[in-house]
Symmetry: none
Subunit: 210 residues, 4 copies
């Protein structure tokens, strides 16, 4: 993702400021200046600051969704996907790099803060965000269905509930991480993930016996 026209550059630069400082503290002047243009240029492409912000967030959501879709549509087995997911640090870094959002996304606190403030300003974004989350949960459900077909997990698994469980737990673990000085969550996350997996997985004693 190498933006080449001013509008895209502005959105990326603004996103950077909004995510790092927050909406109110990001002045159009600073954003423009950081890009080597003047404030006026912003008003060519965006109706006003709110409009710029809205566009930025939409762009961020698109990028994030794209990454989710991509990282779940690959044909990796469910267990491996979960392991990757709960390897938070690495997973975030990869996303940051592959999406070109760098500093913006790498810090979960920033991203979350950005979402919440965007949500306050533009309640209509709720639909868009929910879309993404439910897309994520549906993808999980899909993978579980496949896993059931493959005999990897118990057929009577409540895929809906487990998808929710994983999603919520994942978000919660990140949040606690944001509030914590320790690295507990980095070790406890995978540990809990393992517990969940054991609960739904079909033990393959034969595999080991081979």
């Amino acid at each position: 993702m190498q933006p080449n026209d001013t509008k895209e550059k502005l959105e990326m630069q603004a996103l950077h400021f909004f995510a790092l400082n927050d909406y109110e503290r990001s002045s159009l002047n600073d954003i423009a200046e950081a890009l080597g243009v003047t404030k006026g240029a912003i008003y060519h492409y965006f109706k006003n600051k709110d409009d710029l912000f809205h566009n930025c967030v939409l762009r961020l959501l698109d990028v994030m969704e794209g990454w989710f879709v991509h990282s779940m549509s690959s044909d990796i087995p469910l267990k491996m996907m979960l392991d990757n997911l709960f390897n938070v640090e690495e997973s975030m870094t990869e996303m940051a790099e592959s999406t070109g959002l760098g500093a913006v996304i790498v810090n979960y606190t920033n991203t979350l803060y950005l979402m919440l403030s965007a949500l306050k300003k533009f309640p209509d974004l709720k639909d868009r965000i929910e879309d993404i989350y439910s897309g994520f949960r549906n993808a999980l459900k899909g993978m579980m269905s496949t896993a059931i077909s493959n005999g990897e997990i118990h057929p009577e698994t409540d895929t809906e509930a487990v998808a929710f469980e994983i999603t919520a737990f994942y978000e919660g673990a990140l949040l606690l991480g944001a509030f914590s000085n320790t690295q507990d969550y980095a070790v406890l996350g995978p540990r809990v993930c393992e517990t969940i997996w054991k609960r739904i997985a079909i033990e393959r004693s034969t595999n080991k016996g081979k």
Copy 2:
């Protein structure tokens, strides 16, 4: 909690604005006016806006911690406590009422947003927040230990992991709720909670036998 001096009133009023609008958008003018005093009065009690904010957040954290401590120290059985906890709506309302924080706390998005912005401004708060969360997790662990003694849950339960699991899942569920238009989380939360419980609880066949 019926604040009777101006300073306390100011903190409560300010907390209200900060939680509802966010720090930057809450003007001292509005806060003072809403209380029927002048802006100058604020500066009689607080060094500046930041100082006021800091005091507000500390007060909020105190109140929340107090409520957590209170609601977990009662002698109710673990299962009942969890059921109450995941009865989010009611639980939140009760907290809001019993703490007098009303509009501030009832909305999780607001509280979370407030925390995050406070954390950005005052990184030292991280310690305080982590204290509260780890206090919460420790209380859960304690209750589980008691439950083990009572023969309610399996002795080999990894209380540390489960406490983290519940806490993270709880936070995550609330967060997803904040991002969602539906009430899914209200039904999925308790459902998952039940699953977790079944995993650790010792089945009381006699009960069923009745």
Copy 3:
């Protein structure tokens, strides 16, 4: 000196206020209003009030230095120059007019006060001011050297000391004038100047003999 762009106009207007009222009592509001622009315009050209002040003082110093240089580089004889100098009233008026600083400079108290307050805020100005004064003294020394060559004053005159004497006495006389209600200094100044001159001048008996 006819400033035509806003920045110059602002500096001149501000200088006017600063010299008349003093820094603290000159509000940006008044300055802007007096010029028919808004306060914001000031911040378009200057970082802040201090910056504006700094620029004003530098401009004043430049103007004053320019005037000193000009009035001493002319080819008038030393004695005439001194007479002009100690004809304070007229000399000041001429400077005010020829530099366009009008009301700012005409009153020595104002100028002195301005310098002192500027010096308090910006100690680095000391170098600049000292430059000007030593430039003035050096010019005096130069004129005396010429006068020695011309046989107007005694060759053994301690030009360094006399230059200092004249400069200090001049400043002191102005200062006493600022503190006085009478016009004493206007008559005593030239009188003392005459005394100094007599001390160093070579008597031209032939002139009188004519």
Copy 4:
């Protein structure tokens, strides 16, 4: 001078602030706080801030005048007095100590600045200040008359002009000193003083001959 009642303490403390910071930047709060009382106390003794300032300056003028009177009424010979006077550093320090004004007076820039700003606010002070200066000049004249009687200086000396010359030169030298980073004035002052003295003194060849 050891003030023992609150009013005097307030005046001294305020003088300290006014001289060090300037009128506008000295808040009644700071003044009161530095003394361990509250702002309200000031309003017991003074009508308002201006009144306090006025009293402070009058007190300063009294002290300075007292010191001048004292240091000139002693029976020391004229020459010695002048030498003392132009030994600026020591002379200032002595005054500061013997008057208890310490930090206030020791810095000529501060004192001068204080005078000028006081003069702007209270034009009536001009009379008082002029009184002091003319008192100083008259004392000089008196000493010269005595010196004439004693045969120390030429009888035809224009005492009026010389008194003015010395006063103005003294003030000017201090002023240049305030504007300078070097110590030139400390050596040039006495040098010029010597020149003036030689001009008016009667040479005592017999003394040397002894």
